[in-house]
Each structure stands twice: as structure tokens, then as C-alpha cells.
Amino acid sequence: MTSIINKDPKVVVQGITGREGTLHTALMLSYGTRIVAGVTPGKGGQQVQNVPVYNHVSEAVNNHNADTSIIFVPAPFARNAVLNAIDAGIKTVVVITEGIPQRDVIEFIAKANKNGDVTIIGPNTPGFINPPNSVKVGIMPAHIFSPGIIGIASRSGTLTYEIAWHVTNAGLGQSMCVGIGGDPIVGLGFTKLLEMFKDDEATKGVVLIGEIGGNAEELAAGYIKETNYPKPVVAYIAGRLAPPEKRMGHAGAIVMGNVGTAKSKIDAFTAAGVPVAEKPSDIAKLLRLGEENR
């Protein structure tokens, strides 16, 4: 199986001329990411960090074979940016933008699915980082991560950095870390990432960082149980004390009725034999790695 996320992506930055786009283009370049082009409608012909800027994603694809896009476009315009990326033939779209209307997300994810092989990561994601290959398509602080053997999938941003830091300090490092996004509806989910980590030789163990809201964790736990998942997995769930029907910061972090409670997620993982850490610093020691990886 080919990796869902290309390990040597040629990246186009949509919204490159904005403050965030410019800052993170510099940070991604310095980490080693191959950024081949930027896009801001109406600003074609400029350069940002020596990266050529175009008006349309299709120019970045035609001139530089870009296959991955990272989107910093403000929420009201993000829908068009994603649809343009899909139309231009981009295969992986990382949507950093927070606050995109759910109706727009439904629309562009449906379009990505109909186009078959387009992966949407996010929205409201810090992106992904692949330390062994020095690839970062995201906004995470790179120094927290180190090349290693743990695959991390998370619905959060700073909490992911907190946990990645513990994994780094435990001497394990990361094979890949992917933020799936804090919105109610996201593209790439836990289950697909578990499949990917299963087939990835560099990944020896997996950390899932979930939170209240929805049932993505329950589905991941079901998948682990059904497939008798071959690699050790540890989960962490944030929001044990969240009151019902209150949004805890993330648009997706909300308990509705009986759906989305921390207890339901913890119970599901426990039933699947996945240890659930009580606090971030417990995660590394709960990973039951083989002797050769300790």
C-alpha cells in the first residue's frame, strides 16, 4: 500500500502572501520541506522566501508538479481554495484554517471523495510532520520532534506538542505525527491513519490523542479490536470534566446528549485492550514496545 501521506511531497502554499503563510513557509523550508510554489489570487509573479507565487493552483501543478497543498486562506475563502486544489490535481490537501463553515467542509470533502484519491487533512489542523524524512507540512514547532519510531495521530494542536515532547524525551521519537483537526467534520481520520501506521515499517507503536465530541475514538477502538491490531497503541482523551452541550474551544469538542463523552471513548479503548493514559507524561511508559525498541 502506498502511504496516504507522501514522504517526499512537493508542496504548494495557498495563502503564501499572508502573515501566517509567509511565516510558516520560512519555517517549513528551514525544516527541509520541498516547497515548490505559493498561490495567492492576484499576487502571481511575486516571490515569498524565494518561492514563486502564482494566481492559480493549476500553475503550481503544471510548472512544478506540486502534489500537496497547505492552506492558510481565511475561513470565508477556504472552500474555494480547497476546491481549486482538488481541481488542479493536488493529492493531499492540508487545511490549517480554523473556523470554516461545516457546510463548506461537507462540500469539499464530498468532492475529494468523488475524485477518488484525494486526501484532506483537517480542517483546523496543525498539519503533519515526518521527522525521519525532514518533512513538515504544518505549523508545529519542529524542535519538539525527533526522528523515531512512534506514529502520533491527534485532534489537537498544542496538546500534541506536549505529548510529542514526552515521546521525544523518552528517547522514542516520532516516525510521523498527524493532526487530524479539531473540527466536527474532518477528512483523514484515526482509522485510516491506523491502517497507514500498521503498514509503515518505521512505525513501531502508535499514540492516539482524542478528545470529547463525536465518535472517532470509538470507531478507532473498534478497528483496533476487530483487526487485532499488530502494533502497541496508547490513547489519551482530553475533556473528562467537560459539561454537556458546551464547546470546549474546538468546534468539534462538544458532548451532545450521550454522544462524545470522555467516558465512552475511554471505555471503548479499554474494551479494545488499548491503555488510556491519565496524564500526558504516562503515555511513553504505557507503550508496550518490543524489547528491541526499548
Partner: protein
């Protein structure tokens, strides 16, 4: 954002769905006047955004205007599940032959809208799902195709009902889908949808939850967005300042950057035996004004006795946060002890600023959480 029942009904009415004759009353005289105008038995419904309003005495029937006045004076100013009743919807009492259920909501897993219809309305839909799952039909909408009245008629096929009911029910649910799309609703629900003796279908109760992310393109909701019925007073104040804040029951104030990290900090304080008093996420790349405003908001919460601030800097700079903390402490009329965890971008400078002001900083959140419980 949740709409009040009368707001949701008004929106449905403007889209062609029948609603009972009724008006909003803010005092008992108005309630009496409305009841007199309606000229038959009325229902008085407390306009509060809590579920189970009826069971808590928030829905009462009056046989005439005098009784309506007396019930209204009981209800207005009372509290239902912690929410003060400021207004009542006074409506004609419907003659009910049958009660249906209709809603459109977003299915997070299926990543699309799902239409729900049931011939067992008037009770909680989750209860119906338990007791008679066959009485609920679901239709997942392909966003490219939409959901027409013809689709709705097809969807309702399994229900045994006459053609008139079916076509009216279908028209209601396809209208609900249209409203959900046009106004970016996460949920629009009619429960019950009442069939009267004359064969009319009338929305006796309605709920609408608007997508907070889409308020910018729904001006009719945006005007209301600072005075939300579901907010506590402090949550409403925080919303004005653009802060993601939620009240909790305890006495330890919690502030951090990033929703997941703040939830995790709350869980940690509880794990260590403390009782968190709030959730406050200052977001990514916060400037001093945001931190200052947030800190003062939490300082002024009477129940809070100490505050834990947990910052893991990336695009958020620890020195900027430290500056905001100092300004907040200086400007807050009430001062409470704080413990600060700082890690990441410009951590040393941030720690220096805080140490100068006599505030301890900790490089990891567990130490800081243990410390705040001793303050």
C-alpha cells in the same frame, strides 16, 4: 449558537412551515393581552435554552386570559435548570390528532447532513430510538444532489399514512433541509410536528442550532450572537472579548493556549485532587490584550481562589504571554495567586519577566498543577 423557540419558529414560518398563532410576552400583562387576542386556551412556554423544559414546569396551559396572566407572573423571573425566564411564548393550544418528528442535522461520521423523520413525535428522539427504532427513518443527503420534496416522499415510503399527510410531511422535511443549508444550521428540529383535525401539519415546537463558524454569512444570527441564551453571564462577557471560555464548578482557574491543552490541564488538576473553575483557551499567537483580558475575567470569578496558566509556545510567544499576565495582575481589582507553566518560544525571557514580578514559573505542567493546589 442556539436560537430561542420563537426565533426558530419565525424562521420556519418565513420558509412556509405552519406554526401556531402566538406572540412573545415579557410580562404578565402582555401575556394576558396575547391570550385575550387569541381568544381560546393558550400554552405558555418559557423561552429558555434547556432540554426537558416541559418536565421542569416551563410549559403550562391556560384556559383563559386571566389564568394566562397568573401563570405568566409565576413563570417570568423564575429559574428553570439554572436559566432565568425573561420571556414566554404565548400560543394557541393546538388540537392534536397525531404527533410527528422531523429534523435535519450534521452527521459527523458520514460527513454530511442527515434527515430524520418519525411518526412518534412529542417525545425525546433518543428515547424513540431506544423504544421503537423502526419508527425513525434516516436519509443521508448527497451534498451534490440535495434533498427535494420528491426525495422526501420516497424517504417516507415505509410509513403508512394517507397521501395528504405524506405530501405535507415531505414538504416540511425538504424545507427543513433547505433552511439547514441556507442558514448553516447544525440542527433544525420540529418536535412535535402536530397534525390537527383539519389535516394541517403545524410545528408545535422548534429548535435551531446555528454553526458558529458561519455567522459571518448569516447576518440574522450574527446580530444575536453576543447575547446567547445558553451562556452564563461570565461566558457572555468572554464572548464579547472573543475568548473561548466555559464555566466549571470548582475553585482553580485554568488558562492555556490550545483547546486540547486546556482540557488536558483541567483533567490534570482534577486528577491531582483539585476542582477546576473554568476553561479558557487564549488560542494560538495570542497578544497581550487577550491574555490580560482573560486573566482579569478569571480573577474576578468569585469562586476562583488560585489560577493555573499553562503555555506551550509555538506561534504563541512566552514573553508576550508574560507581559499580558503582568498587565492583567496590575489592572485587576481583585488579585489571586497564580502558577505559570511556560515552555517553548521565548521561554527564558518570559520566565525572567515573571520572576521579576515574584511569580514562579515551571517548565512542565504537572509541577505547575501540583503547585497551584498549594496556593
Amino acid at each position: 449558537m442556539k436560537l430561542f423557540e420563537y426565533e426558530a419558529k419565525d424562521l420556519l414560518r418565513r420558509n412556509g412551515i405552519s406554526i401556531p398563532i402566538g406572540y412573545v410576552a415579557y410580562n404578565s400583562e402582555e401575556a394576558e393581552g396575547i391570550a385575550r387576542g387569541i381568544g381560546k386556551p393558550v400554552v405558555l412556554k418559557a423561552q429558555v435554552l434547556v432540554s426537558g423544559r416541559g418536565k421542569s414546569g416551563g410549559i403550562r396551559v391556560a384556559s383563559d386570559a386571566t389564568e394566562a396572566r397568573s401563570i405568566a407572573s409565576d413563570l417570568i423571573g423564575s429559574t428553570i435548570s439554572g436559566h432565568r425566564v425573561d420571556s414566554l411564548l404565548v400560543e394557541e393550544k393546538l388540537e392534536i390528532v397525531e404527533q410527528f418528528y422531523a429534523s435535519v442535522t450534521i452527521d459527523r461520521y458520514a460527513r454530511t447532513h442527515v434527515v430524520l423523520a418519525s411518526t412518534s413525535g412529542g417525545v425525546d428522539i433518543e428515547e424513540t430510538a431506544q423504544t421503537s427504532p423502526d419508527a425513525i427513518l434516516r436519509y443521508w443527503v448527497d451534498p451534490d444532489i440535495g434533498f427535494s420534496t420528491a426525495d422526501a416522499v420516497g424517504m417516507l415510503g415505509p410509513f403508512s399514512m394517507n397521501d395528504n399527510d405524506r405530501s405535507k410531511f415531505a414538504s416540511v422535511i425538504s424545507t427543513l433541509y433547505k433552511v439547514a443549508l441556507e442558514h448553516d444550521a447544525e440542527l433544525v428540529e420540529i418536535n412535535p410536528l402536530v397534525r390537527t383535525p383539519s389535516g394541517e401539519l403545524i410545528a408545535a415546537d422548534a429548535r435551531l442550532v446555528a454553526d458558529d463558524n458561519a455567522l459571518f454569512r448569516n447576518p440574522i444570527f450574527r446580530e444575536k450572537s453576543f447575547r446567547r441564551g445558553e451562556d452564563t453571564p461570565r461566558e457572555a462577557e468572554a464572548r464579547k472579548q472573543n475568548l473561548a471560555y466555559v464555566d466549571l464548578d470548582g475553585d482553580i482557574g485554568i488558562i492555556g493556549n490550545g483547546a486540547g491543552l486546556v482540557m488536558s490541564t483541567i483533567d490534570l488538576v482534577q486528577l491531582f485532587g483539585g476542582r477546576p473553575g473554568n476553561f479558557l483557551d487564549i488560542g494560538g499567537g495570542a497578544q497581550t490584550e487577550i491574555i490580560k483580558g482573560g486573566l482579569i475575567l478569571v480573577m474576578l470569578k468569585p469562586e476562583v481562589r488560585a489560577i493555573l496558566i499553562n503555555i506551550l509556545g509555538g506561534i504563541t510567544r512566552c514573553d508576550v504571554v508574560a507581559q499580558g499576565i503582568i498587565e492583567g495582575l496590575n489592572e485587576s481589582s481583585i488579585k489571586k495567586p497564580i502558577a505559570v507553566r511556560l515552555m517553548g518560544t521565548n521561554e527564558e525571557e518570559g520566565a525572567r519577566i515573571l520572576h521579576q514580578a515574584g511569580i514562579n514559573t515551571y517548565p512542565n505542567m504537572e509541577e505547575a498543577a501540583a503547585e497551584v493546589l498549594k496556593l
